[in-house]
Symmetry: C2
Subunit: 223 residues, 2 copies
């Protein structure tokens, strides 16, 4: 294994350990010693990659969206639906994404800047909405930046409600309901009629992304 690959793997192991400890203990209570013990790496290795607990938390926060990709579609609104459904699917199945979202929603981590995921997700959705607007898919009065914030904020709450009530079991149904309430205020009726947004959409898109990443990475738009 090349030196660089090893460094990437070590960084990943440390982040996974940090995510686990933040999730179990909360950001405030978690300590670097606990993260070291969980990761099973040396203090030197940890400090080579991360300067502080804050730095580790920002690394975990990055994980929910930094590798975010969605397949290109003729209809840009479908890309937005796919992005939302894929994120919901990853929340259900990927412990790292789950830990990152919980950390972003930790209103008690007062000294940690948790705005990153909100702002980056809003930026991704805004760009997709601008693409949809350029293609005439949106209603005429829409301001992409404000609509993007509504999508991101409301999704954050829907996932939190689903986690609280059913530990994410009812997440897909709740996300479908949210989209059915938001889209008629945003997109042209003919566009909405063409959208795929059933509960299984997230899993379908996830498999498609995995396949494309292996065989045809150029077909993936980086968010």
């Amino acid at each position: 294994m090349a030196k660089q690959d090893r460094a990437i793997r070590t960084r990943r192991m440390i982040l996974l350990a940090a995510a686990k400890v933040f999730e179990e203990r909360g950001y405030q209570a978690a300590t670097i010693s606990e993260i070291l013990a969980e990761a099973g790496v040396t203090k030197g290795a940890l400090y080579f990659h991360f300067k502080s607990k804050d730095d580790l938390a920002l690394g975990v926060l990055d994980e929910q969206d930094s590798h975010f990709v969605v397949p290109d579609r003729a209809c840009k609104m479908q890309e937005i639906v796919d992005a939302v459904m894929l994120h919901a699917y990853r929340l259900q199945t990927n412990p790292m994404v789950r830990a990152s979202v919980r950390l972003a929603m930790d209103q008690k981590a007062a000294d940690l800047d948790r705005s990153g995921p909100f702002l980056r997700w809003s930026n991704v959705i805004q760009q997709l909405l601008e693409g949809a607007q350029a293609r005439g898919e949106l209603l005429s009065h829409i301001t992409p930046a404000r609509t993007a914030d509504v999508f991101v904020g409301s999704f954050a709450g829907i996932q939190s409600m689903s986690q609280t009530i059913s530990d994410y079991e009812d997440l897909m149904g709740r996300v479908s309901d949210l989209l059915r309430h938001l889209l008629p205020s945003v997109a042209q009726p003919s566009v909405i009629a063409s959208l795929h947004m059933s509960g299984s959409r997230g899993a379908v898109v996830h498999e498609e992304v995995e396949r494309l990443q292996e065989h045809d990475p150029s077909a993936l738009a980086v968010g």
Copy 2:
């Protein structure tokens, strides 16, 4: 002061202290000793009102909606808008409501049942939607229970995003944006056209409720 009044006041002081400690330390890290010190009451007084830390937390969670009232309106959709705007206003101005909402959103308080506020708010909104439906204010396909869940979940996330990005300074604008995106999928256009939902609506309704509670409590519908 009558014995009962004194008991109510003591209970309230303990809840305020608990809210403050949960807010500062997080639910998991908070201890009953800290709450005792903050409240300045005896151990006996605390245990007379609350059996455990869990019990204290449920008391704080109750506070965000148990005294919830909104003035009667001819248009039921206006009552829903008023309920949402009033809650946003109380979040900005009332430390107890703020602490209660943060505790409900604390995804790390794993052993605490935080579903209460979600379910009770959803129930309040569902009842108002059923009233609106009976008056013909809603679009024909609406299922009040599912739409209520979308309102409650999305509001929870919008407030969290506002707290994270601006410490609630931009809350009213974000809540207005959310309502403008949800209402067209729920209510008849002629109903929406009649609604008051500017950023100052929460403060206006709050003053009205205070006035009515003093002079004409029967005009307030308990949620």
